[in-house]
Amino acid sequence: MIEVENLTKRYGPTLAVSDVSFQVQKGEILGFLGPNGAGKTTTMRIITGFLSPTAGRVRVAGIDVAESPIEAKKRLGYLPENPPVYTDMTVNEYLAFVGRIKGVPRGELKKRVTEVSEKCAVADVQHRQIGKLSKGYRQRVGLAQALIHNPEVLILDEPTAGLDPKQIIETRELIKGLAGQHTVILSTHILPEVSKTCQRVVVISKGTVVAMGAPDELTARLQGYGSVLVTVEGPAPDIIGKLQVLPGVNLVEQVESSGTRVTLEVHTEKNQEVRADLARTIVESGWGLIELKSSGMSLEDIFLKLTTKDLGEEVAAHEALPAGGIEAESVN
């Protein structure tokens, strides 16, 4: 439904997005995960036709966004990072205006406004001025706006940012309810967010895609393994044989060898510190230990930069506690 091909965007000397490619299937919710400044907003702005890319192309429902922008935009609903609302309008006036410029037929406009107001739970404030609404309401008005013309594709840029925990949970439920009827891309810098809402994740960092897959797959990769790089002076088969049997080591692979020197990658089990054992074994066997370091998988580094704390989760845990219950939250 959405095809992003080799997208690159430069702002003068800054490379904001570099050769990004991914696809989203019809009815799927794709999480676009990355720390701040990764290039999420830039990519989404290109998909929606707000920015033109330096290179690459985007197709929405088979339509090239650069070639037929109007046709593509008819099929797109977009909620930017800050809801694009006119603060002096009432909710109804605003949704009616957006409906008109999104091409909702005159006769259906009123019905559509009512429908999306109800769907996004803003019907109770329909006659209030948007400028006087809370952040949570404004965000939902923004979502209602994106839905007004019933687009096939929804692009939501950090839809839960700045909301309080209760609002976050409500917004997530709302978005999950949209899957199936709409194809959704939502961006976030909060790790638990994707596992809660998305079927598939694209991880982006410094403008490039570093991982793709189902949320639990990625979490497993993050938490399941570590790896250490060792460079040793000695016979490769013997070394591998000896290191492989150490406790906590899963697998030893030869990465490189030059002369008598070999570089090995030692995959370890979750949270196991094996470096001291490795060093001792190598030295005691009489081989020369040249270098020993944590391989520092790029994915791990990126995940470290992500916000792993989930506000919504904390509150849910709080609420689950009986009144006056002890302050013990380290259940999981």
């Binding site: 920015l51 109007i70 694009p84 008109r100 410029i101």
Partner: protein, 258 residues
């Protein structure tokens, strides 16, 4: 067309839901009213004096020449230099500041429809000023009998002059998120274009001619006298088209860089 009208309606609504429309109309009415009053008073005093002197020279001294024409010639153009920036400053600057520019530019409407819609919205607010002007002038028909013929040319001239400034002001508004900056820069730019023909006073030759031709005022003189000259008409229409074209270019650049 539906898109253009939706945008125009939104702009007009925004003007009248904020103090801007009322401020602009009040400023205009006060300034226009003041000058109208002083020209009329001078005229009345002078005609009495003439009559006292035996009616000599009376046939030449018409209300059109002594009240209406100076009102258009000297005053209205200057008042517009001040007032138009207040109308155009928000057109794009405010959309950029609030982020609603993302809504407009990701909607299935062309840039041209948005630009023309905004221009029309601003033009309608400006239309109220033409109405105010002619409300003042119409009082002259109660107490005197001015010729109505030049009024058409004067109305057309005022409309075109204002529309040209609106188009240029809209363009300037695309460069900033700050309405104040948009207003100040527009005012300075208008003033500069306005005084271009002053150069003719102390220099001559081709440059002076070109500058004088480019000046917005030079082309207003004919209309103020009650004459519609094709050359002036073409000039103002070109400026309006240029303003819209430059705005389109600037919005295009916004998409590449924002």
């Amino acid at each position: 067309m539906r898109n253009i009208l939706a945008v125009a309606g939104k702009e007009l609504r925004a003007y009248f839901h904020s103090p801007i429309a009322y401020l602009v109309m009040a400023v205009y009415a006060v300034l226009c009213g003041f000058f109208f009053y002083s020209f009329t008073a001078t005229y009345v005093v002078q005609t009495f004096r003439m009559q006292a002197m035996g009616g000599m020279g009376m046939p030449n001294m018409t209300i059109n020449d002594y009240v209406i024409r100076p009102l258009f010639e000297g005053v209205l153009s200057i008042v517009l230099l001040l007032v138009i920036p207040l109308i155009t400053m928000r057109l794009y600057a405010e959309e950029k500041r609030s982020g609603t520019i993302e809504l407009l530019l990701t909607s299935p409407v062309t840039d041209f429809q948005i630009i023309v819609g905004k221009f029309l919205g601003a033009l309608m607010l400006f239309g109220t000023m033409i109405v105010i002007t002619f409300a003042f002038i119409s009082t002259l028909f109660i107490y005197g009998n001015p010729s109505a013929k030049p009024l058409i040319a004067q109305a057309v001239g005022l409309f075109l002059f204002g529309a040209s400034l609106l188009a240029l002001g809209m363009w300037i508004s695309t460069f900033t998120k700050n309405q104040i900056i948009a207003a100040v820069v527009s005012f300075a730019a208008f003033l500069l274009i306005y005084v271009l023909n002053w150069v003719t006073a102390y220099s001559s030759g081709t440059i002076s001619h070109v500058l004088s031709y480019l000046s917005l005022t030079t082309h207003f003189d004919g209309f103020a006298k009650g004459v519609v000259d094709l050359k002036d008409l073409v000039y103002y229409v070109s400026v309006i088209v240029l303003g819209i074209f430059l705005t389109a270019r600037s919005v295009e650049a916004l998409k590449g860089r924002v």
